[in-house]
Subunit: 210 residues, 2 copies
DNA sequence: AAAAAATACCCCTTCAGGGGTGATTTTTTA
DNA sequence: TAAAAAATCACCCCTGAAGGGGTATTTTTT
């Protein structure tokens, strides 16, 4: 673990005002040091390994390689670096993609600048900071749909199918006949308008039924 | 949308000290009103509908019905209520279960009390507040495993299987023979130690390979 | 009393998966 | 840079489970 009190920060952000603003802010109102600030990933990648940063503040909408595409490359060059995304985009897909690809935190640009200092501190201590609007979207992506067309039994059976159980195993577990399982499965397929286990699971997951 | 400046709060928490502490704190240092505080869900459920709360602060480890089991019941009684979980548990599974079942925010009990006031404000404004340790776990649950035993081609085929494509469709899409797809699938099964599509998808998801 | 859900059975076709074999190409590494 | 390893490609046989079709009784809910 690097020195948490003097973490090395790199900023990758194309907007000069924002870039220099954060640079100044971090250098002067926090114990952290900005070792470099770049206007794009394509410029940053040539030198960033030498910068040896602990935390990278990374914009998504960069000229050339986007922040999302930069993520796996940064993780390969600097496996232990913490990356905080900073962007105006906040669609669920982009947020989830960024986090899936190794971002440690995610803030939208309407976040008060002082929160970024807190965020650096949090990632250095193993946290995963997000702005409230971002975490709201993350939470929504985890929530189940309350209005399922499936009955309780059907939902139960679909969950077992999703676990990889076959008809026989499901029948045993629920103390019902294999043929009954078949009937339920048929009804599930009709309701979800699919004709295979895989499709049923996908439709169910997409609509957060299971 | 209820009056955001005078939100009605209910606390469900069995520890008297914590319960009364939050009660006092919220009533005296925030614009919000604690309309009631209960030591368990089983007591709360009899009266909580009349309390008409905007936000419920809910402990997980309650006597009788647990906070997790209380979630769907509360959501049924009060569909628009915001629920902030407050607990010492912070395993990934419990956190994800709580959020999947309708919690709007999640804090561990080492969170400074003042953060709870902020959290109430955030949920009232559509945010999804979480403490850094919690959001870290949520983020980890979203991240892909960088060290997959599968080759690119195998990962690609497994993703198509997970989308519900059959051998023929995969062969067409990748411009290879159906038999080749079969060979790849066999190798995937050997590497993941499974013997069905469903199990392969599950192992892959559990280990975040796809 | 009617509707919805859960239960159970039969026939038939298609596809997934187990087993085995072997060639060509790409990538790694010694 | 040549040898070894890994990845990709292709084919055959056989069995069992999945899925489509239909029918019908009992239980639960409204």
């Amino acid at each position: 673990m690097p020195n948490q009190e003097a973490a090395r920060i790199v900023i990758i952000e194309d907007d000069k005002t924002i870039r220099e603003g954060y640079h100044y802010l971090i250098d002067n109102t926090s114990p952290y040091t900005v070792v470099n600030a770049y206007p794009s990933f394509d410029v940053a990648k040539l030198k960033i390994a030498k910068d040896n940063p602990d935390v990278i503040i990374l914009d998504i909408q960069l000229p050339g390689t986007s922040g999302i595409d930069a993520l796996p490359q940064l993780k390969k060059m600097l496996p232990d670096v913490y990356i905080i995304m900073l962007t105006v985009y906040e669609t669920e897909k982009i947020i989830l993609d960024a986090l899936a690809n190794g971002a440690s935190g995610y803030f939208t640009k309407n976040t008060p600048s002082s929160k970024i200092i807190d965020a650096i501190k949090e990632v250095m201590h193993g946290g995963g900071p997000m702005s409230p609007d971002v975490s709201k979207k993350v939470i929504m992506s985890l929530q189940k749909n309350q209005h399922s067309p499936l009955t309780k039994r059907e939902t139960q059976i679909l969950e077992l199918i999703a676990e990889g159980k076959d008809r026989g195993q499901i029948a045993n577990q629920l103390f019902i006949d294999v043929e009954t399982v078949k009937t339920h499965v048929k009804n599930i397929y009709i309701k979800l308008d699919v004709n295979s286990k895989a499709d049923a699971i996908n439709v169910a997951r997409t609509n957060k039924l299971i």
